[in-house]
């Protein structure tokens, strides 16, 4: 029998090792695996390379992990979000590495890894400083930049519902990077608002099929992610 449910986030992050590359889902709060990240902080693993759209906010979750000095590199599109104080502080001191990637290219590189592709040509960034040093190619009269897939040892995401097979359903703007990251992570960990029995998610409504998910943990919303209005 397949049972991917673990009791705690601490169990889920147990195998994360020093130096691992970790994808973190979410765009803003929706889909952010805040409690897995807090477990990772408790574990104290170090020298991490993180792939995430931003660079954390405040001193919680990714912000906290960076503040704790656990992250050596961030691959992100928007690390200058106003809340990313811990990152910006270390970056200005030269103590953390940044790979800046346009948001659509970031999403597509993650998907390419999950889909087993060796890379792709995108028009985005051609002729700008973000294409410096990259392979260029003119295809059908347009300039393109070659981009490689982004793989990860671990992907951590948050979903709305999950079952013991690992099937995940998201809610509204929670999907963002999370499906592609679930595909790209060698090991994918998910925290979910709600556990449902197998069959509790209609096959039409499974957004990330369980094949991409290794472990999931039931996590009520973190206190810092208060439900402001009632979900519709």
């Amino acid at each position: 029998m397949i049972d991917k449910i673990l009791k705690t986030c601490d169990q889920a992050v147990e195998k994360v090792f020093d130096g691992a590359t970790i994808m973190l889902g979410g765009f803003g709060d929706p889909g952010l695996p805040g409690q897995l990240l807090e477990a990772l902080r408790r574990k104290g693993v170090k020298n991490l390379a993180v792939v995430h759209n931003g660079a954390g906010a405040g001193d919680w979750a990714l912000g906290g992990l960076i503040k704790d000095g656990r992250v050596r590199k961030v691959t992100a599109s928007f690390p200058n979000n106003p809340g990313a104080i811990a990152f910006q502080d270390l970056y200005l001191k030269g103590q953390i590495e940044l790979e800046l990637v346009p948001q659509g290219t970031l999403a597509e590189r993650i998907r390419a890894a999950g889909a087993g592709l060796g890379g792709f040509f995108t028009p985005t960034s051609a002729g700008t400083e973000l294409a410096n040093g990259k392979e260029m190619r003119t295809i059908d009269g347009r300039e393109y930049v070659f981009e490689k897939p982004l793989h990860a040892d671990f992907a951590m995401i948050r979903a709305h519902k999950g079952d013991r097979l690992g099937n995940l359903q998201f809610r509204k703007a929670m999907r963002n990077f999370n499906i592609a990251m679930a595909m790209a992570g060698a090991v994918t960990l998910a925290e979910v608002d709600e556990l449902v029995p197998v069959g509790g998610i209609d096959p039409e409504d499974v957004h990330a099929p369980g094949i991409f998910v290794d472990h999931l943990v039931h996590c009520p919303r973190h206190p810092k992610l208060v439900e402001i209005g009632p979900p519709k």
Binding site: F27, G28, D29, P30, A76, S77, F78, P79, N80, N81, A84, F87, Q88, Y91, L92, L98, L100, V101, P102, Q103, G104, T105, A107, E108, I110, R111, T122, P123, T124, S125, A126, G127, T128, E129, L130, H160, F170, R171, K172, A173, M174, R175, N176, F177, N178, I179, A180, H207, R221, L225, V226, E227, I228, G229, P231, K232
Partner: protein, 230 residues
């Protein structure tokens, strides 16, 4: 008189065609949706996986899972849809979103756009700016015509790092509406009380003045559009 931010947004809203698919940047562009005629049906897109976004959520009705790319709580209109980032940027990069309205630091006469790295910004960030500028056919810029130090922002060539080369199709400022054409910049409208000479004096690239160049039709008393003193 120079237009207010709302005045610029109003002018943009007049030009968005019925049936267009539009991604609005932060700042002045965000105001555009408020001035859209009810006769037009436009679907607004947000990078984080939303098409058919409605207005900001009223206080007390926010849904923690429903934010826009600026991380504000928003609403959905009937006929909207949710999807993930690869799909959202396929809409952008694949040319499906018909219009994007963006802010700018500099625009060059050939349509080059610089809007992602502010001078002196120590931590860089690009977000979806390049994807929008490269992928969408109608890149429309809204900005003040000059910097707060009075320096022109429409230039012969950009001095800041480019977001995308030759992407801007139209510029809406507090002084003018200017098209970027293969023959260079074409001044099509001026703000009420602004002369074409005023516009050229504040623009660091040559402007041709369209034959039909006219004053912008900005109603003086439409809700929220107050004309500020120049």
């Amino acid at each position: 008189m120079k237009l207010t931010r709302d005045g610029i947004a109003y002018r943009v809203a007049c030009d968005l065609p019925d049936g267009s698919y539009v991604n609005l940047g932060i700042g002045i562009p965000t105001l555009v949706s408020s001035y859209l005629s009810r006769e037009k049906e436009v679907q607004f897109h947000s990078e984080n996986g939303i098409l058919g976004m409605g207005p900001m959520a009223a206080p007390g009705t926010e849904d923690v899972d429903l934010i826009n790319a600026g991380k504000q709580y928003v609403t959905m209109l009937p006929g909207g849809s949710f999807f993930d980032h690869p799909m959202s940027f396929a809409m952008i990069r694949g040319g499906h979103i018909t219009h994007t309205v963006l802010g700018a630091l500099e625009v060059a006469a050939n349509g080059d756009l610089a809007n992602w790295r502010t001078p002196g910004e120590k931590v860089p960030g690009v977000g979806g700016a390049m994807d929008l500028a490269f992928g969408i056919k109608n890149v429309w810029i809204t900005m003040t015509h000059v910097t707060n130090k009075g320096k022109p922002k429409i230039l012969k060539a950009c001095t800041l790092p480019l977001t995308a080369p030759r992407c801007v199709k139209r510029i809406y400022t507090d002084m003018a509406l200017i098209d970027v054409t293969p023959e260079g910049l074409l001044l099509r409208e001026v703000a009420p009380g602004i002369s074409t000479a005023d516009v050229q004096a504040n623009t660091d690239a040559p402007l041709r003045v369209a034959k039909e160049c006219r004053e912008m039709a900005i109603p003086e008393n439409i809700r929220g559009v107050a004309l500020a003193a120049a």
